[in-house]
Structures are given as C-alpha cells and as structure tokens.
C-alpha cells in the first residue's frame, strides 16, 4: 500500500501554528488589559468568525455575496431571543451554548435562502444575495416583535447562578467565551478546507462547467457550502448578541454585509488566514480611526481601493509574496527600491492626510474656530502656510512616489517572474 503523503514536518508545523494561535488568544487580554482593548478584542473575535465564514463563499467558492450579514444577523436575533427565554426560565440553556443556537439559526436561514441564491453562480448569485439582504432588512420593519423595531432587541447575558465562578458579567469572561468559539470555529472551518466537499468547492470556483462533467451538481456543492458557512456566521452573530447585549436591524443590513466583504477582501481571500488579518486590522482601523478622525470612512474607502488596485491578494497576499521572495533569497534585490517607494508613499500620505483633515475641519468644525491639532501641532486652517506645507508635502510625495515606483516595479516583477518560471518548471 502506498504511503500517505502527509509529511511529518508539515504536521509539526501545523501543530506549532495552532498552538501559537491558541496561546495568542489566551494571552491577548493579559497584554491588552484595559476595558477598551478588551471590548475591542471581543469584537475582533466575533468579526473574525464572520469573515472566515464569508471567505468559505468568496475565497473558496468564488461566490461574491452582498448579503452575508443576513445569516450572522438573524443568528444574532434568534440568539438574543434564546438568551431572554433562558433568562425568563422558560428555556434551560447555558449562556455558553447560546452561540450554538445562533449557529443553528444561521444554518436554518442558509437552508432557506441559500437554496435560491446558490442556483446560479457569478453575477446572478451576487444580485440575488443583494435582493435577499434588502428583503430581510425590510422584514425587520414589518415584524417588530422579532426584530424589535428601531430600538432592536436587548438582553442580559448574566442569567442564573454563576457556574464555577463564571457569570459572563465581566468583559474578560465574555472575551474568553468568544476566544473559545473563535478557536473551535477556526479549526472547524480549516478542517472543512481539507474535506472532499471543501476541495470540490474550489473546483466549482475554478471551473463550474467541468465540475458537472466529473459528477458534481454545482448547485448542490454551492448550497451545502453556503449552509455550513451560514452556520459559522450564525455563531458569530450569537457571540455578538452576548457581547453587546443588543441586536438591531443594522445587524442584518446591506451595510454590515458590505463591511464583511470589505474586511475579508482587505485581509486576502486567497489564503485561509487572510480574513483573520482582515478582521483584526479593519476592526482596529474602524474603531480607533473613528475615535481619532471624522474622515475615517474616507480612509477606509481609500485603503480598500488601494488594496483592490495594488494588492488584489489582500494583506495575506502581500505577506505571502514577500515571504516567497525572501524564501528564494531574492530579498536583497528588492530591498533598496522597496524602502524608497515606501518612504515616498509615506510622504505622500502625510500630505494627503493633512489636506483631508484640514478640509474636514473647515467644513465640519469651523464653528469651534479655525485652529486644530495636526501631528501634535497647533494649526490655523485659515492661514496659508499650513495649506502650502500640506500641498507641498503631497506634491513632493507624489513626485517621489512616481519616480521611485518604476524601479521597484521592475525589481519586484523580475524577482517574481523568475520565481514563477521556477514554479512552471516544477522546481
């Protein structure tokens, strides 16, 4: 009998990666122990599960969904109702398992809506998901008993007697609940990629027609994948319900669905761990940036555009490409042009940032006077000098960027070309 081709070192590597992941989740709140960072970490956890589940559709199945928040959101609503029933004593359910209720609810809605959406792939699929998310959002106004109208449904996660000292009152306990479900869900979703269905959904993504000619009903492959993906989305929703103790119609909105798409894409759809990076980075970005500047949505939008144009593989793609270059010992060749272009980009971005911030200040906060703080300096937006400085920075940065980019593009392209040639020859 032929020996299986699973190499020991890979298994060991895998163990190290998963062990490190668990350790990271366990230790994160000890390092970032303030109230703000704890709630931020909790939010990152729930969003990570949602993004990973979304990538089962987009990255692994090539299904561009505009309505994934339907599953996480409806999961959240069912979970908070379950939580309230449990609090009322009419449902014997520990809080620890509420996310599972959310998951099963998400799955059930996946069974219903997925049957329609997955009949077709590509643009048709995308359009139908957009229709479904609008439909569910409209329903949220029509059924106030379930959706709670404008105020949403609130709940209380502290129910019954503490079990082994766990009451889920303190945020830290909620964080560990989320971390537990995050770890289990990540492992389960990774395991999915290593199953027959997980491989066939890749085949259906690459070439649905051929998949039909090797015996697979592509509708069924997409449908089953979507149901499983909706299950994990529902878990994420259930955790969000526990975390925030309120679920509103915004949870099932197109805007929320769009955010999931954005986060996942920025993280990188081509790699399993991409959405983890995306969720981490984007939650930090949106939460921190919104504290810091009013123009945060503009920056997130610009960032997304930059990723789509310059790095369609997302952050994970950038990392993987750089690692590949480093692995082939070609990093020395791209290092100099790289730091030059990064430096130029930083100058350009600083200039752009200053311009945007001053513009925002003038149009939105002029009632509070013309002075503002920028890079720790007191700046008068009515004076000419700051504007001249900002525009000069932007102009100089852009010129530098334009001047340094070709050299980088050349070195980068040549290195990657050589690596791909090696791959083509099977070396």
């Amino acid at each position: 009998m032929a020996k299986m081709l699973t190499f020991r070192p890979i298994n060991l590597g895998r163990r190290i990666v998963w062990g490190g992941y668990a350790l990271l989740l366990a230790l994160a709140p000890l390092v970032f122990d303030s109230g703000t960072s704890l709630s931020l970490l909790s939010q990152v956890g729930t969003v990570t599960i949602a993004c990973l589940s979304y990538n089962m559709l987009l990255g692994q199945g090539g299904m561009l969904s505009f309505g994934h928040a339907v599953y996480s959101g409806l999961g959240a609503f069912v979970a908070i109702h379950a939580l309230n029933l449990a609090a009322g004593g009419s449902l014997p359910l520990p809080v620890t398992l509420v996310p599972l209720v959310g998951g099963l609810a998400g799955m059930a809605f996946g069974v219903i809506f997925g049957y329609v959406t997955t009949r077709k792939a590509g643009t048709t699929f995308a359009m139908i998901t957009l229709g479904i998310v609008e439909l569910v959002f409209a329903c949220s106004l029509m059924f106030p008993q379930f959706f709670g109208g404008e105020g949403g449904i609130s709940g209380n996660r502290v129910i019954g007697e503490p079990f082994l000292g766990i009451s889920y009152g303190p945020q830290l306990q909620v964080y560990y609940l989320i971390a537990f479900w995050l770890f289990v869900s990540t492992a389960a979703m990774f395991a999915f990629t290593q199953t027959p269905l997980g491989r066939i959904i890749n085949a259906v993504r690459d070439n649905p027609e051929r998949a039909e000619f090797i015996g697979y009903d592509t509708h069924k492959v997409r449908y089953l994948t979507l149901i499983l993906s909706a299950f994990f989305a529902g878990i994420s929703g259930g955790l969000a319900a526990i975390n925030f103790e309120i679920v509103t119609a915004e949870n099932v909105s197109a805007a929320r669905s769009g955010a999931l798409l954005l986060f996942t894409f920025i993280g990188g759809v081509g790699f399993f761990f991409g959405p983890i990076l995306g969720a981490l980075m984007c939650v930090f970005l949106t939460v921190m940036l919104s504290d810091f500047t009013k123009a945060w949505q503009l920056y997130v939008g610009l960032f997304f555009i930059a990723i789509v144009v310059f790095a369609p593989g997302g952050i994970a793609g950038i990392l993987a490409l750089h690692l590949r270059v480093a692995k082939h010992g070609m990093y020395a060749r791209i290092w100099t042009p790289l730091w030059r272009v990064v430096l130029a980009a930083l100058v350009m971005l600083t200039g752009a940032f200053a311009c945007i911030e001053m513009l925002y200040h003038r149009s939105l906060e002029s009632a509070n006077g013309t002075t503002m703080k920028l890079f720790g300096l007191q700046v008068d937006t009515a004076a000419a000098l700051p504007w001249v400085a900002a525009v000069a920075l932007l102009g100089a940065g852009t010129a530098l960027f334009a001047a340094t980019r070709p050299a980088f593009a050349e070195a980068w392209g040549r290195a990657n070309g050589e690596i791909e040639e090696l791959a083509r020859r099977g070396a």
């Binding site: 290593q194 027959p196 066939i200 890749n202 070439n207 051929r210 090797i214």
Partner: protein, 258 residues
C-alpha cells in the same frame, strides 16, 4: 467491428436532432456504438461533431430523437447525472481547474466515483483509495514530476494530457474525447495517441479528431458527419474508399444529397 448482435450498445443515437433557433445543426443522426469499440467522428468544420458530443454528454438537450446509454435513455439528464452513469468527456478547449495543482485536479475527478460525494466529514488526506487512484492516473499520464504544479501554469501539451487524465480518472467506461491532439506538434500528438490507447484500454472510446493519422491509428470504426448527418460509417478502409466522404471533404463543401 460492428455492434454485436443482441448485445446492448454502449451508446445508441436514435434519429437525434438539434435545432438552435431556426437552424438545424444535427439533422437526424442514428448510430450504435458497441461496448469496447473505438469510434472516430470526423467531418468538415461546422459539421456538428462538437454539438453531437454536447448532446451525448448532456451539455445541451436534444430537440428530438433519443440517446441511449447502455440501453437507457438520457433525455433530460444533467451532465453530472450522465457522468454518474459511466460517461466521461474531455473538451476541445482545455477545461481544467487552473488554480488547483495537477494532483488536486485528479483527486477531484476521482472523488465522486469512489463514493465520497459531498462529504465534509472525511479528511481528504486520509483517503487512501483516492490518493492511490489519483497517483495511478498521474503515473499513467506521465505527470508524476509535475504533481504539485498549478494546472494553469502547465504547458499546452501538459494541459491536454491533464484534460485526458481528468476525463479517465473517474473510471468511466465510455470516454468521449473532443479533439485530444488539437494544436499539438507531431511528436506531442504521437505521445498523445500512445497515451489515449493506453488509458482507454477495454473502454468504449468516441473521439472527434481532425488529424487523419491519429484517426487511422486509433479507430476501429469511423463515422463521417457532414451538415448534421452521418453520411458514412465503417472501417477505416471503407471510409478511405467512400466517394461521398471524398466529396464532403474535397468537393468544396457541396451539400450531400440525401
């Protein structure tokens, strides 16, 4: 070799017709292909050879008439249902899973036939039978050394070989190959003929082919399609001698009087 009397043919076309809008592309084809037979389908460009393949494999529905596979009708069946009944086809324009490696392409192609279907409870790397079958096909198509290369990065000839590998990997008894040597150099095409002979041993083979040396080298029987009709069918020697075939090919595409 003609169909044995009494035995059920592998494929049986019964007055098959196909219309696209006003134009009838297949105009009443009747043909029996015996089990284990190697039949080449030839004919001028636009004769409807690929369309006929698309009808037999379920890509398009027939407009009228019937197609029987091992004696039972496949009317209205989807391609995956026909595949599950033991028919597998390749494509004229390479149709592979370009982002997956060669090995993964083959592994996908064997999963259904080994009964793993839509399983998400088996660990793919733990499936010995899948692994062995995929490795076996890899060996047969001579691509062991290219095992982990993404299919999209292969050379054209390699992609054609993989195309055949995917087609035979599921163990189907009836193999349809659509121009397997199209666009190949002489030596590549010779290698392809050897490969096809080897991998279709004991199976029913129907192939569309333009290269006459390939056709005469592989086929037991040749069917000639012109303007949607089978104008001749017989052994290579019969076909060489047939006047109507010469007309269809050399007579400036003059319509054949029926």
């Amino acid at each position: 070799m003609s169909a044995q009397r009494g035995a059920i043919p592998a494929i049986s076309l019964r007055d098959v017709r196909k219309r696209f809008g006003q134009s009838e592309i297949i105009r009443g084809c009747t043909l029996d292909i015996a089990r284990g037979e190697r039949l080449a389908l030839i004919g001028p460009n636009g004769a409807g050879k690929s369309t006929l393949f698309n009808l037999v494999s379920g890509r398009f529905p027939v407009s009228s008439g019937d197609i029987l596979l091992n004696g039972s009708s496949i009317r209205g069946l989807k391609p995956f249902e026909i595949n599950r009944r033991g028919l597998s086809r390749s494509f004229q324009i390479t149709n592979i899973f370009h982002r997956l490696s060669v090995y993964e392409n083959l592994r996908c192609a064997v999963l259904w036939s080994l009964g793993y279907r839509y399983s998400f409870w088996h660990r793919l790397n733990g499936l010995k039978d899948v692994h062995e079958r995929a490795e076996q096909v890899l060996e047969r198509i001579g691509m062991k050394r290219r095992r982990d290369v993404a299919a999209g990065l292969l050379t054209y000839a390699e992609q054609r070989a993989l195309e055949i590998g995917i087609t035979i990997a599921g163990g189907a008894d009836i193999i349809l190959l659509d121009e397997p040597t199209a666009g190949m150099s002489r030596s590549e095409s010779d290698a392809a003929v050897d490969l096809i002979r080897k991998v279709t041993e004991g199976k029913t083979l129907v192939m569309v082919e333009h290269d006459m040396s390939v056709v005469f080298g592989l086929a037991d029987r040749i069917a000639v399609l012109a303007y949607g009709e089978i104008i001749a069918c017989g052994t290579p020697a019969d076909i060489r001698a047939d006047a109507r075939v010469r007309d269809a090919y050399l007579g400036g595409h003059a319509p054949v009087e029926g």
